[in-house]
């Protein structure tokens, strides 16, 4: 049993892609945990998360701290993403699962990235701002969309990474080509 298994990231070999001002790169969070508070335990969960500068987010909200964030991902559920695994101490008050390997994360940047998202996602890009975490479809895939200062982070289930890389590549190439035409 000498060999150690080599890890591979979801977008490995598929990103980055660039065209014109646009760039899509893979982001690899150190840890992603789903947190689903049990009935009546949201306040207790928020309190536990406060040790990391976080709280349980409202619907559509992203709560951000220096090295971690809590992204709303659905009914009674959020993802706590962090640079390194955090001691969450949520035993008995929330269902927690490791989702670090379950999702692929990409960051889209470049002036006018909203035009790229407009080709892929029905949500108004004006809502893709820091502090917001949205669930929507991106290129016919269910996704988490999360605004950052210079662009947007799109997260899809790991098995979709190939299609996501393809779709974002096609969309940013298309928008860049149309900018050239202007």
């Amino acid at each position: 049993m000498a060999d150690i298994l080599r890890a591979q990231s979801p977008f490995s070999g598929r990103l980055p892609v660039t065209a014109g001002p646009f760039k899509a790169v893979e982001v690899i969070p150190g840890s992603v945990m789903s947190v689903a508070p049990y009935r009546g335990q949201q306040a207790a969960v928020s309190k536990a998360l406060s040790h990391h500068g976080l709280r349980f987010p409202d619907a559509g909200e992203a709560v951000e701290a220096a090295h971690a964030a809590a992204l709303w991902t659905g009914l009674d559920e959020c993802f706590v993403i962090s640079d390194a695994p955090l001691p969450l101490n949520l035993d008995g008050i929330a269902a927690v699962t490791d989702q670090t390997d379950g999702w692929g994360w990409l960051r889209l940047t470049g002036a006018g990235w909203q035009e790229v998202m407009a080709r892929l996602c029905p949500v108004d890009p004006a809502l893709m701002v820091p502090g917001r975490a949205l669930r929507s479809e991106v290129g016919h895939m269910m996704a988490i969309v999360y605004g950052v200062t210079d662009g947007v982070i799109v997260c899809v289930m790991r098995s979709f990474a190939g299609t996501m890389a393809h779709d974002i590549s096609v969309a940013l190439t298309s928008v860049a080509a149309q900018k050239e035409m202007e």
Binding site: R119, V123, D124, H140, M157, S159, F160, H166, D167, S174
Partner: protein
């Protein structure tokens, strides 16, 4: 004929284009239609049914005649309106529906047969003999009729789809649209201004008018400059809003590259947008309508407004001697503009006896045009004067104005009906017909320029609840019209030139009692062509109104449906075409499988390895080898695709007891149990295993294809049925890479990669637990879908590729290797495990022999409904195995039906069907699963398997639905 000093074309940019094989010149800023007219080309196509020579009628998207095929080869675009196609250097256009040439079209014989080919002709003539319809009539008619044709090839081009959002969507950029957009923009609102033309401005580009003391186009340019500088405004020219839908959503087609000789790398040909608008101002203008008279479809007969468009916008006189036929002031304006431009106006004919107009040309007040002459192009017209005398008037172009129809179409897309306005003798949008949409300008029946400016500003202010902005000075004449629809007389007077429908046809519909407007439309096909009757509808309604003694609003309109103008199907699809029609989900072993030359099969969105052919192997040889390999040594298969749902909470056990037919609260931690789920209606929904990882922690597996459905079901159960249960669940399908390791040597392999003890004591059959897999924390389940001693081993997905390789390498060292879905399927059929081939949504637990799995000790979803009469018992088709009497029988395929030995083969004697079948290398013959009426009581009987699609019949013995290791010793050993 091109006129000097007129038009907004760029005379410094000449371009060459080709029409029907001949080369012509034009300028940037021309449409194909304006360039053809500038080259004195009047004959541009043949009509749909009678193959009559046709010319350009309009200067916009309502054009019925000038349909062209643009471009060549696979990407050629048929049925393109020459009136909206921008001219570019190298453009190649072909006319349609003519053979051998436009000038000499043999199918014109249809026109001579016209007396026999009127509306209803097909229905009456081609009824018998019935058999000939499909073989002869339909192909011949389809060949003779029609417009352009697609190439039938993949055009190799791309289209985009997209989503836009705004506070105010303004449709149309004429005076009303520009003022609406300005109003919104200055208030800081997010505005989208959509214009179907390649130039903003609407009719301001087509008239000699001033706005705010500037020529129309100059004022347009200043407004567009202001809007373009505003960050909150999106200007979208070449964008047609094609449909109005629920919730303020509009469909819009943006032509991205139809004006370019070739598609720039990476760009789409067009983008189909879904626009979510807070409020909408419809300022789409109006269409000038024609007047019906004999042979009014001759090339050279045009809308009066189109004549002005060609004059003012393109610097083209559509004729050298122009006559005008009008029932309103618009025609007079046309004549005045032509005279001012130095074009000869041979006469203005106005059926109104008393008008104030006076022009330096022949004026025939109270006269009508009774006939147009000239087959391939207009030569002259016959005019009947008020005294009844008929005279001929020279004209190679006749400008006709029968009034204006506001383009109400979008306001009717949500089933609204327009209102009739007596003042303008036309339909106008009914307020509120599309929630949040206000019509303005000519689209709302406001025909003066100042009125349009004013109404656009007001509409936007009202829509956004803000103050209107100041309206600039402009022409503000009142609009006067006396309705006049049709000049009675012999011959055919066309209403709908695109579908060749004449007044006679409407009369025929009336005669045959197809008097409802919807019936009339279908009987005559009026308004059913690609122009959706933009020019023809109201005229036909007027004729029907007169025939039935009703007024027009009483007759009503037919339904306008999206799209407003044709949209390529490819644009709806966008990039979801070809191989990327839908997303692909790839397994952790995808790269390895491809390296090994695997063939793939789709299961839901997943692409799974189906078999791994070795040199010289076809699929069957590979499948047989892989099956035998698992039975004799060890095989590795990627089973990541099975849905994995993590379920936690104080009530997790109770929750599972209710969704599964069998008990899960009694399952011990560290053990796995097979479970069956029913739908609410009592039929089987899905099956799978569920492992208990902790007191309040389970991991449920679902079938690959039903993972989403099961998740939705669980959500429904928790949120709606039992909100009192404290349970949480989430998909962990993609978190874990999971591999089946199956075969007599499976434990040898697992021992080699798992640090913990995997003896029967630690990991008995149906045991599970956390383990360390090659140094990585993972999970091990001792479960089997093959009947062999088997495991499923899972690691976090980042290690999936590496583990797949490590397992494969070790399996190969043991004489085994990878196996795919085909072998997996054979293994499970041999062993008697079901898939969705069996639980196809129509079978009950009892049908598949699992009736006893529906626990009597508790309730579960679907239990009560499954106990309904008719869902169990001997009348049901029950799962059985089938073994052919002749072991060499090759014809045993899923989908075949079962019959008793001597029964006649009819639907009544049908006794069931085959759900799964395969060649079993283990037994050396084919085997199958079937649902046979009262099957469990018929083991040992012989039945006929009849496969009508393959024309085969096979005798089979009925067996228990399990062929391999019925005692289960191999599983447990």
């Amino acid at each position: 004929m091109r006129l000097q000093g007129f038009g907004q074309i760029d005379r410094s940019s000449p371009v060459r284009f080709e029409f029907d094989g001949r080369s012509y010149g034009g300028f940037a800023g021309d449409t194909l239609a304006s360039a053809l007219l500038a080259n004195d080309i009047r004959l541009i196509g043949r009509s749909f049914k009678y193959h009559r020579p046709r010319g350009i009628v309009t200067a916009g998207s309502e054009e019925p005649n000038a349909l062209m095929t643009i471009g060549q080869g696979a990407a050629a675009n048929p049925n393109t309106r020459a009136t909206t196609q921008e001219l570019y250097d190298g453009l190649v256009a072909r006319s349609q529906n003519a053979w051998p040439s436009l000038g000499l079209d043999v199918m014109e014989v249809n026109d001579l047969l016209a007396p026999f080919l009127g509306a209803g002709f097909y229905y009456k003539t081609f009824m018998w003999p019935k058999a000939i319809w499909e073989k002869l009539y339909e192909p011949v008619i389809r060949h003779a009729a029609g417009l352009g044709a697609l190439s039938g090839q993949d055009d190799g081009q791309s289209y985009d789809t997209g989503f836009l959002h705004c506070d105010l969507l303004v449709i149309g950029s004429g005076p009303a649209g520009l003022m609406a957009a300005l109003t919104g923009a200055r208030a800081g609102k997010r505005v989208i201004l959509a214009e179907e033309d390649f130039a903003f401005g609407g009719r301001l580009n087509a008239e000699a008018e001033e706005v705010a003391g500037q020529p129309g186009p100059a004022w347009v340019a200043s407004v567009i400059a202001e809007l373009a500088a505003a960050p909150n405004v999106r200007l979208m020219r070449r964008t047609t809003v094609t449909g109005a839908y629920d919730g303020g959503t509009f469909g819009a087609l943006e032509q991205v590259a139809e004006h370019l000789p070739s598609l720039p790398q990476g760009a789409p040909r067009a983008t189909f947008w879904r626009i979510a608008a807070g409020r909408t101002v419809l300022a789409g203008g109006a269409h000038e309508r024609m007047i019906a008279f004999r042979d009014n479809d001759r090339p050279g007969v045009m809308q009066a407004s189109a004549v002005r468009s060609y004059l003012h916008r393109y610097g083209v006189a559509p004729g050298r001697k122009v006559a005008v036929f009008t029932n309103n002031d618009d025609g007079w304006r046309t004549a005045a503009d032509l005279i001012a431009a130095g074009v000869t106006v041979t006469a203005v004919i106005d059926p109104r006896a008393h008008t104030q107009h006076d022009l330096p040309c022949r004026m025939i007040h109270g006269g009508v045009v009774t006939r147009a002459h000239g087959r391939l192009g207009l030569d002259n017209i016959t005019v009947r004067k008020p005294d009844g005398a008929e005279i001929k008037v020279d004209a190679d172009c006749l400008a006709v104005s029968g009034g204006w129809n506001p383009s109400v179409h979008l306001t009717c897309h949500m089933n609204g009906r327009p209102d009739w306005s007596e003042d303008i003798a036309a339909f106008v949008p009914r307020p509120g017909a599309v929630p949040g949409l206000i019509a303005a300008g000519a689209a709302n029946g406001m025909f003066s320029t100042h009125g349009a400016l004013r109404s656009g500003a007001q509409a936007a202010a009202e829509a956004l609840d803000i103050k209107p902005i100041k309206v600039p000075q402009a022409e503000d004449a009142t609009f006067e019209i006396t309705p006049f629809w049709h000049v009675e007389g012999p011959g055919r007077a066309f209403l709908d030139p695109q579908n060749d429908v004449s007044v006679k046809d409407v009369k025929a519909a009336h005669q045959e009692n197809f008097r409802s407007v919807e019936h009339m439309k279908r009987y005559t096909t009026l308004g059913m062509a690609t122009d959706q009757g933009k020019l023809s509808n109201v005229g036909a309604l007027a004729i029907m109104a007169r025939l039935t003694g009703r007024d027009i609003p009483e007759v009503g309109t037919t339904t306008f449906r999206p799209p407003y103008t044709p949209v390529p199907i490819a644009a709806f699809a966008g990039r979801a075409a070809r191989d990327t029609f839908r997303p692909h989900r790839l397994t952790p072993s995808d790269a390895l499988s491809r390296e090994r030359g695997a063939e793939f099969i789709e299961a839901g969105l997943w692409h799974r390895a189906a078999w791994f052919p070795q040199p010289g192997e076809d699929w069957l040889a590979a499948c047989n080898r892989e099956t035998t390999m698992v039975r004799e040594t060890v095989g590795v298969a990627d089973v990541t695709t099975l849905g994995k749902i993590d379920i936690q909470g104080p009530d997790a056990a109770v929750f599972l007891d209710r969704v599964y037919t069998n008990m899960f609260s009694t399952l011990k931690v560290g053990r796995v149990r097979y479970g069956l789920m029913l739908r609410e209606d009592g039929f089987v929904m899905d099956d799978g295993t569920c492992a208990r990882l902790g007191d309040q922690h389970y991991v449920m597996t679902t079938t690959t294809a039903a993972a989403g459905q099961v998740m939705v079901h669980l959500q429904f159960c928790q949120q709606v049925l039992w909100p009192e249960l404290d349970v949480r669940f989430i998909s962990v399908t993609d978190q874990w890479a999971q591999f089946a390791v199956a075969g007599p040597k499976a434990r040898d392999l697992i021992r080699d990669v798992v640090a913990e003890d995997v003896s029967d004591e630690s990991f008995p059959y149906m045991g599970c637990g956390a383990v360390t897999v090659l140094g990585v924390p993972g999970r091990l389940f001792r479960i089997s879908f093959s009947g062999e001693h088997a495991y499923e081993v899972a690691v976090p997905a980042r290690y999936g590729d590496a583990l797949a390789r490590a397992l494969t390498e070790r399996a190969e060292a043991l004489g085994g290797g990878l196996y795919g879905m085909e072998a997996l399927n054979v293994l499970r059929i041999e062993k008697g495990y079901i898939t969705h081939a069996e639980i196809d949504g129509r079978v009950t637990a009892d049908d598949i022999g699992m009736g006893r799995m529906v626990s009597a000790k508790k309730d579960c979803v679907g239990k009560v409904m499954s106990e309904r009469p008719g869902l169990h018992g001997p009348e049901r088709c029950q799962l059985v195995g089938l073994r052919p009497l002749n072991p060499d029988a090759a014809a045993l395929h899923a989908g075949a039906h079962l019959f008793a030995l001597k029964a006649e083969i009819t639907p009544d004697t049908d006794q069931g069907w085959l759900s799964s079948a395969c060649y079993s290398p283990t037994f050396g013959h084919r085997i199958a699963y079937a649902f046979l009426k009262n099957g469990r009581a018929r083991h040992g009987e012989t039945v006929r398997v009849v496969d009508r699609t393959k024309g085969t019949e096979t005798l089979c013995d009925v067996t228990a639905p399990m062929f391999y290791d019925q005692e289960g010793g191999k599983l447990r050993g």
